[in-house]
Symmetry: C2
Subunit: 494 residues, 2 copies
């Protein structure tokens, strides 16, 4: 019996979001509740139209959005099916409490604490690294890039021995500007500044908009590298609660930016947030850009993972809604194309002149060869084919790992399966210490990222971030079983 | 008649410097005065010993030091001869006045002023660039590096697609640490941090030792890039008078560091200072390290040109005298090996841990391929052969340009021929404006660096820095003649 042939059992919530989103939300709950199980066929487009009295285009949007979020899978000529969701026996990670606003705190000592964790992990170089955020070399177009590099060097023999172009090679600036168009961002090659990875871009953005002592809003939990950057620049951070499904809480940001009128900037990862893996819905992205513009808060958008989002259309960056140059867009090629080339780029809106001065004074232009290799690859059809394969592989890896976590971890473990990327954010059962698990795992040859490094508070002390960098195999399965056993032991002794 | 067969006409000055240096100084004056002319044979070692009653080793040291400084040339089996000094009809640049201590000033606006000059010059991309500080690609081992890069990529196919080593590739850290030994510096590969050029190294050093608002001593004139770094970091600079022949005035530094007890650091280019081209005598280097250690001033040593000094032994860095980790050594491969690879490295003494944290937070590790190429080249005998050729070519280029300046520039022009590198620091006749000459030269297709960008004062407004990046040819000769004509016209209209 298909429960959906009856009239909708619940009224759709009366929020400000568009109809298709409320409908999609409704089906998400139906699936999460198990009413529609993995493998079940979804009602047809026609059924949706008649049952909810919506137009064809709304019905199609509902399917698209559910597919994009990984809930449905289209099978050619057979319709939509509920995705096999192996981790579904794990409950989703809980939503944060909004009023828990932290004090803006200068992160004195956090930098060193994080560095100690990184160093401690590096002391086990042969360990299986589930603590990183980069996929294995074999998932990137190794051979193709190598061949390109050799060819470009033959064509431009003086590349290594002549001074490169200020601001970055024009070829790369053109290639990324052209590509940005398809995600709704219109920048000229001259607006693009090539950087040493996303990390340098975020550094420059922060240095351009803030002075030491200023307060910056960040997601909570946030990428630990960002917390290190803030501390190293003498900036104070205000942690804003962030939902594992819809991202930064706009409500909390609203409160915070009122309470803290001299808030200089917000740094946010709207697509596949690290560590949560969430993607902000488009409507919230638009709202966020407007809110920051109204409050005069610079919006620093950090996008290393955007092209890893699984969706039919390219995931949209905040910059697509930027009307007055208030968004500084920071991209990275390290996660999507080539971790060894250390390339990133940024489009800095109204801070462009200052950012260029700072980049020139900080590191000059980047080395040229990698830029030309990246430009040629991105400009070719090979890039889209590569991304398609990469996303497929990462999905398989994520699902297999989530499956294993479901099998091996103690009851009470929670996990939200993200719609892309390689990171899983796992909540251990109440009271478990992820620092202890981190330490216990190292002698077993397993590296993971403990939740404590993603915040200055102790809110994430029982979370771990596990990555799925390589095809799932016996070694990974064994490691996850070992972790599950260790987590259970720590839970009992706690 | 050889005037030196008589007893020494003047008593040697009773300064604290060693005997051989005072003797060498005496001969420098004799040559500068024209008593010994270019092409003249120097008295023999034996003659020196008996005349000045000095030991064999002192006499040899005198010859070495005169040869190193470019005054003498050894001809096999014929003895030492006074170097053909084509620019000798130009008087040396005058020594600075010591008491002219500037106020520590935050360089507000200097950064932009310098950037405007750079941008203005870049608006003439086809101009002959005599304003840079990098030699032409043809002077570097282009083919060899290109072949190495392709070979290394074949051997290590995942180089572009795997995460590199924190702190830099071990191969490069080993190669530069080993090489540093021969200049008297003993660092372990683990003490070495690879950076994005010398500019990033100096940035990190300053960020490690100082906070915004702090005061930093710099040479006057100083590399404009350093002034930009200081402004971008919110640091205040105290300009210390610097001699065109012996470098930073220790007397002035002594006064300054007493008057300004919270002086945090000194940034100095002891070998081939930019723009002056001077090399500090070893005795002064030792004294400088001691002075800074006594005063608790961090010594940031910026060495992009050290390996371009013409001398029989490698020029010694300040770091060779460092006893307590108070010297941060910053090196660059961009001027000596490969401008397109954007590589530098640093050894940070007692600030090492902090510098590593800052580098990690600022740009992560460098891209690997260039590092491995550099490591392999530096580790081979090819590097020394390349440096030898590069120094020879640069000397020929410098001398030919100085010659042309002597021919074409108005009377009253002064110039000190430096013992290495590619930069000439030229004093125009009294009252001439180098900013005006810079502007006037652009429409003629000539770029130069006006003295105004090397200081926050207007002390160098009638100086220009001219570089000799390529083999001297008709185009350069024509450009220098044009510059001379323009300088004369500006002089008349002033
Ligand atoms: C959110 C986020 N921003 C930035 C970065 C750093 O990017 P890159 O390696 O390009 O410097 C990372 C890497 O983990 C990240 O997760
Ligand atoms: C004195 C000095 N320091 C540092 C640099 C910058 O070096 P790099 O190109 O390695 O960043 C230069 C370049 O002109 C310089 O002259």
């Amino acid at each position: 019996m298909n429960p959906l042939n009856e009239p909708p059992p619940v009224a759709l919530p009366e929020t400000g979001s568009p109809l298709y989103e409320r409908l999609a939300d409704h089906y998400r709950r139906v699936i999460a509740a198990g009413t529609l199980a993995p493998g079940d066929r979804m009602p047809s487009v026609r059924a949706l139209m008649s049952q909810h009295r919506v137009s064809l285009s709304t019905a199609i949007q509902v399917f698209r959005s559910l597919e994009d979020a990984g809930w449905l899978q289209a099978r050619p000529r057979a319709g939509y099916f509920v995705r096999r969701a192996p981790a579904s026996r794990l409950a989703n990670v809980a939503e944060p409490e909004i009023p828990s606003l932290a004090e803006p705190a200068r992160y004195v000592g956090l930098h060193e604490r994080i560095s100690r964790v990184i160093e401690r992990a590096q002391a086990f170089p042969d360990a299986l690294n589930l603590g990183g955020a980069t996929a294995d070399a074999m998932l990137y177009p190794t051979q193709r890039l190598q061949a390109l590099a050799s060819r470009i060097l033959r064509r431009r023999p003086t590349l290594l021995t002549e001074v490169g172009e200020d601001g970055g090679a024009i070829e790369l600036r053109q290639a990324v500007a052209k590509r940005a168009l398809s995600s709704g961002v219109s920048v000229a090659p001259d607006d693009v500044l090539v950087t040493s990875g996303g990390v340098e871009a975020v550094n420059l953005a922060l240095r351009a908009v803030a002075q030491p002592g200023d307060t910056i809003a960040v997601e909570s939990p946030a990428f630990f590298g960002l917390l290190q950057i803030l501390e190293s620049l003498g900036l104070r951070a205000l942690e804003i609660p962030t939902s594992p499904t819809t991202g930064l809480s706009l409500e909390a940001l609203d409160i915070a930016s009122t309470a803290c009128p001299d808030l200089k900037a917000l740094v946010v990862v709207p697509n596949l947030q690290n560590p949560l893996g969430c993607v902000m819905p488009d409507a919230r992205k638009a709202e966020l850009v407007q809110l920051c513009a109204r409050r005069g808060v610079a919006l620093i958008e950090d996008e290393p993972y955007r092209e890893l989002v699984e969706s039919s259309e390219p995931a949209r960056p905040l910059k697509a809604w930027d009307r007055d140059g208030g968004v500084i867009y920071c991209a990275s090629l390290n996660k999507v194309l080539a971790p060894g080339m250390r390339l990133g780029w940024m489009a800095s809106g109204r801070w462009q002149a200052r950012v260029r001065l700072l980049k020139f004074a900080q590191t000059r232009h980047n080395e040229s060869l990698a830029q030309l290799v990246a430009a040629e690859f991105i400009g070719s059809g090979a890039y889209d084919r590569h991304l398609h394969q990469l996303r497929e592989k990462l999905r398989t890896q994520r699902e297999a790992s989530a499956d294993a976590i479901g099998r091996y971890f103690p009851a009470g473990t929670r996990l939200s399966l993200p719609p892309g990327g390689l990171l899983l954010w796992v909540a251990l059962p109440e009271g478990a210490s992820s620092d202890a698990l981190f330490e216990a795992a190292l002698p077993h040859g397993i590296r993971l990222a403990p939740g404590s490094i993603f915040s200055n508070s102790d809110r994430f002390r029982s979370f771990i971030r596990l990555s799925c960098p390589a095809p799932f195999d016996y070694r990974i399965d064994t490691a996850l079983r070992q972790l599950g056993t260790l987590a259970a032991e720590l839970g009992r002794s706690a």
